[in-house]
């Protein structure tokens, strides 16, 4: 699936939730279930300082695709990190670098990407794109 196909699927999934609580319960569930990152990468080197919650991000480049793994110490942030990874991981650097993440707004979670939230999500997305752009420059 393309990045946009995955985003559209998520938007359709989230349309089933009729109130904020069901939506957040789902995100919390995602955060609890997902073992996102190998323990060896959960150190300062891979840490994105979000001020309030911490986010760890690791990227691998295999067979022309970028594989992201990530984690957070806050469960809601971790659930959202999981969504970002689901959308952006396992695509080519070109696709990631050119992607536009419209799903966050459409599923009503835009507030979590506000810089004032200081949860590390925004920095994580920047870092993912930066990684892809760097790879893109190397490979072309």
């Amino acid at each position: 699936m393309t990045i946009n196909e995955i985003q559209d699927e998520l938007i359709a999934d989230f349309a089933f939730f009729d109130d904020w609580m069901a939506k957040y319960e789902y995100i919390i569930q995602l955060g609890k279930e997902l073992p996102l990152i190998d323990a060896q990468y959960k150190k300062d080197e891979y840490l994105i300082k979000g001020c309030q919650s911490k986010v760890w991000l690791h990227a691998d480049y295999r067979d022309g695709r970028v594989i992201f793994t990530a984690d957070s110490d806050a469960i809601i942030t971790k659930g959202l990190v999981g969504l970002m990874v689901r959308v952006l991981s396992n695509h080519s650097p070109q696709e990631i670098a050119n992607s536009e993440l419209y799903f966050v707004d459409q599923i009503g979670l835009k507030e979590h990407l506000s810089p004032t939230r200081a949860n590390g999500l925004l920095s994580m997305i920047k870092q993912m794109k930066l990684y892809a752009i760097t790879l893109q420059a190397k490979t072309t």
Partner: protein
Amino acid sequence: MMEKTAVLEQFDVYGIRKDFPILTRTVNGKPLVYLDNGATTQKPLQVIDAIRHYYTELNSNVHRGVHHLSQLATDAFEVTRHQLKGFINAAHDHEIIITKGTTDSINLVASSFGSSFVKTGDEIIISAMEHHSNIVPWQLLCEDRGAVLRVVPINAAGELDMDAYRALLTDRTKLVAITYVSNSLGTVNPVREIIEAAHANGTPVLLDAAQAIQHIAIDVQALDVDFLAFSGHKMYGPTGVGVLYGKEKWLDAMPPYQGGGEMIKEVTFEKTTYNELPFKFEAGTPNIEAGISLAAAIGYIQDIGMDRIAAYEHGLLEYATARLLEIPGIRLIGTAANKSSVLSFLVDGAHPYDVGVILDKLGVAVRTGHHCTQPLMDWYGIPGTVRASIAMYNTREDIDTLAAGVQKAASMLV
């Protein structure tokens, strides 16, 4: 006990709430429960009206023009200074320096006091519970002068270790800079003892009163404090204005902080002579609107009475503490015997950020994170806390909504 109950009955919190228009709005479809007063308080109509009055009737630069409006604006600005003098019982109007806020006030002292009185090898004492704005200016000063920063430790309850404090006072100590009330723990520090011990050592004391000025009646002469810093926006006033109180003898002995208009007496390219107090420390056009309307905030507090506010808030804090402790898995951070207005807590198994997100969805405004006290959070070994901080307009219903919200968050997150 009888007396306290009587005060609570007299305190018309619902009448007070009517003066704060923002308290009637909704957030995320729920009535706003505003419990982030440690960050900033809401403003009563009296203050909002004063700002409007300034721009519709007075707007003009202060201390400069001979024209009528400039005179009116200057008079109004000086009314605030005089009112502030009475509010904290300073000896003179000119001991009240109008600044941008607490941070600005502390930086002024670090810069001006520091350049005159702090030399290589000297020491400044702060405490482990300071806000970054009462840490970093002293670190900068110490780096600049080759001086040393000493830190008074705290116990698990969040109280200063006073024996350790006394042991830190030596002939090298040039200043003690300590918070009156901790913004993340709510601890009310024993400021009288702190000042007495410092003075016995010949050392002046600066109190960061950002979290005290709106909750506790302060008399600078009775305390005999040398410097006192606070902000307007945390005491129901406008943002962008604050105060540095300084004893005349210190302010006279200190060089200006910034250069510019108003702080000068005579300028030639060879030499500038400085204006007298307080203008020596007030370079440039101040935040006139905020300075003038701060008087309305002080008047508002004085009309209700600081002792009544303190008694009401104390009762509410006790109620809130009891309500929160009913919740399984809750852990209060900051359990000092003497506390004011702040409830910092954690829910077992839940990150404070997550709790804050759920509370926000329920219309409850709290602060989460390290509250600009990272060294303190590191000392407790926690990433931060959820902080509910109360003001005079908060009610028991607000606390009930908070407690129900925390319970809801715990059931979702843990």
